[in-house]
């Protein structure tokens, strides 16, 4: 095995940090995951130079599939410029020297924590999720031996017990993130802590979806155009969150919004969680109701400044 490209750091690291044997091992796990959609494949997760919870699983998956000609986008809660995203993007810039981008449509690999970009992904793109707890049954059945058996025998009644509890206690299904899904009519899967707003995007997505859980040492995958159904009851069907106002900056509707506090006098606004999508819309001339607000503009300006600082390659 030879490295795909010389590392930038005078041979200190192999291309994309992981050694080639480790990458082969992870790729085997990924292939198995693709062959059995939604099945959690155990893999020998490596120690990464970042703490657990920062996306060590996602980083290992990305490192294993990254090629020298790939273009990488990293988002955290939909945004390209939050700590986790900046750290991981920097990590791959340093260890792999690949091109990075903020633009969803330009990226060939998108590593994400918690969100799926608003823009539809294409067949030539791969989205990598950072997963904290891959086992959807964990909080109801703590024994790993038992949950594995339940997956093997398709005993998923317990998952509905959780949804039943939600309705009994709150009057509606109150699970808003890590909402369990049935993949390809076989495995129940936890789509990592993405908001359930993104669940419909997982269904029949054109791009390949890879999920990596570093601490729990599991990889799973959803191949393109796989049917993914969110679990629900006949009389309480699955619903996504709805927002009663559009994005404050770009005026987009039917997107996932973050609440941003503007000052200490109760000023706040709702803006697109997907920062690239929001910027693109503003550049195209869309303006939201808060776009004239000076406080809001500082915030918006902050994002585009970051954008222009992106290293040109």
């Amino acid at each position: 095995m030879t490295a795909q490209q010389k590392p930038l750091d005078e041979g200190e690291y192999n291309f994309a940090y992981l050694d080639e044997q480790t990458k082969r091992m992870i790729r085997r796990a990924i292939l198995k995951g693709i062959a059995v959609p939604g099945y959690q494949v155990p893999f020998a997760s490596r120690e990464m130079p970042m703490p657990y919870g920062w996306g060590t699983g996602g980083v290992q998956v990305t490192a294993s599939i990254l090629g020298a000609d790939d273009c990488l986008k990293v988002i955290d809660q939909g945004s390209d410029d939050t700590t986790n995203a900046v750290a991981i993007r920097g990590f791959f810039e340093k260890t792999a020297g690949v091109e990075t981008t903020f633009e969803t449509s330009k990226a060939s690999i998108i590593q994400t924590r918690h969100r799926i970009p608003e823009k539809d992904l294409r067949e030539d793109q791969i989205i990598v999720f950072q997963v904290p707890i891959p086992e959807p049954l964990r909080f109801l059945e703590p024994r790993e031996t038992e949950t594995r058996k339940m997956h093997a025998l398709e005993e998923y009644g317990l998952m509905h017990v959780k949804l039943y509890e939600d309705i009994a206690k709150n009057g509606h299904i109150a699970t808003t993130y890590a909402y369990p899904v049935l993949v390809n009519n076989r495995y129940v899967m936890d789509p990592s802590p993405t908001p359930k707003f993104d669940n419909p995007k997982i269904d029949k997505m054109a791009a390949l979806q890879l999920y990596g859980a570093g601490r729990e040492k599991r990889i799973y995958a959803i191949p393109p155009y796989t049917e993914v159904k969110s679990l629900d009851f006949e009389d309480y069907p699955f619903e996504v969150q709805k927002f009663d106002k559009p994005c404050g900056l770009c005026g987009a509707e039917n997107v996932y919004l973050d609440e941003v506090i503007l000052d200490d006098k109760g000023g706040r606004m709702f803006v697109c969680s997907d920062s690239d999508y929001c910027e693109e819309r503003r550049e195209a001339g869309h303006l939201g109701p808060m776009a004239a607000d000076p406080n809001a503009m500082t915030l918006a300006g902050g994002t585009s400044d970051q954008h222009s600082e992106e290293p040109a390659r």
Binding site: L140, K149, L153, E155, G157, L158, H160, V161, K162, Y164, E165, I167, A168, K169, D232, F233, E234, D235, Y236
Partner: protein, 262 residues
């Protein structure tokens, strides 16, 4: 209930033996259980009652012997030759298991309604309204007020927990229920109420029951037939009234005569 008058046994046990290393758990136990029949297994602590019950309910593989069960389609099947999926399906649909300690048989962190509804959801019921209606109905049948449906079993008394556990087991209309000291650890008045309830449910539903108990009064009230165990072997078996009124074995005589009289 055509089952009730059937001449074919529901459970056929042949020479069931379980060793723990060199020590005997139970040895060479054979019996048949007919539909609608309640069989009590009595004996002192360590006599192999629970080992036998665990073997019967596929929770513990016997060292030797065969246990056959008549499936709903009428075919006799050896339980330990069933696939694991089939066995687990059987356990959560056609069977029930009532533990001595209700916490072992309940999910303590989810509400009473979800505890009763779990088996329904496990067999594919996906209608919340229906599940809740059935759960409410069953809570009523085990004398738990309907307004406790959203409470955790942790907030229930011992007797209520035990009744909830029974409802949770019976909701899928099982044909065979295993009970391990269902009244153990309850005070006498709660015990009497639970026994009344069990007797009524068993008669109404035509259940077959294998009940393990060291309390001969429980056996007398609930069971039709009785098996007395000692040192892992069945030493006497017969109709409950016959064995308790006219015990043949010296050990059974001792057991019967040692009941405290008030």
């Amino acid at each position: 209930m055509t089952d009730f008058f059937s001449d074919d046994p529901l459970l056929q046990v042949n020479g069931v033996t379980r060793y723990y290393g060199d020590r005997i758990g139970c040895r060479n136990v054979s019996f048949q259980l007919w539909p609608g029949e309640v069989l009590a297994i009595v004996g002192e602590s360590g006599s192999g009652k629970t080992t036998l019950l665990n073997c019967l309910s596929t929770r513990l593989a016997p060292t030797a012997g065969a246990i056959e069960y008549r499936m709903r389609d009428g075919a006799m099947r050896n339980l330990y030759q069933l696939g694991e999926a089939e066995r687990r399906l059987l356990m959560r649909t056609d069977w029930g298991f009532v533990h001595q300690n209700a916490a072992d048989g309940l999910r303590m962190t989810v509400s009473a309604g979800a505890n009763v509804g779990e088996r329904l959801m496990a067999v594919g019921d996906r209608h919340y309204g229906h599940i809740r209606e059935t759960a409410t109905d069953w809570l009523g049948r085990v004398e738990i007020e309907a307004d406790r449906i959203d409470d955790d079993p942790r907030s229930f008394s011992g007797g209520m927990r035990q009744r909830l556990q029974i409802a949770r087991n019976l909701v899928t209309h099982p044909r065979l229920v295993f009970m391990d000291e269902p009244t153990g650890g309850l005070d006498v008045s709660v015990q009497a109420r639970l026994l009344d309830l069990l007797r009524r449910l068993v008669a109404d539903l035509g259940l077959s029951v294998v009940i393990v108990t060291h309390d001969l009064a429980v056996a007398r009230l609930l069971s039709h037939r009785i098996m007395v165990m000692r040192h892992g072997e069945v030493i006497e078996t017969g109709l409950t009234d016959q064995v308790l009124d006219d015990p043949r074995e010296p050990y059974t005589q001792l057991l019967v005569s040692s009941i405290l009289q008030v």
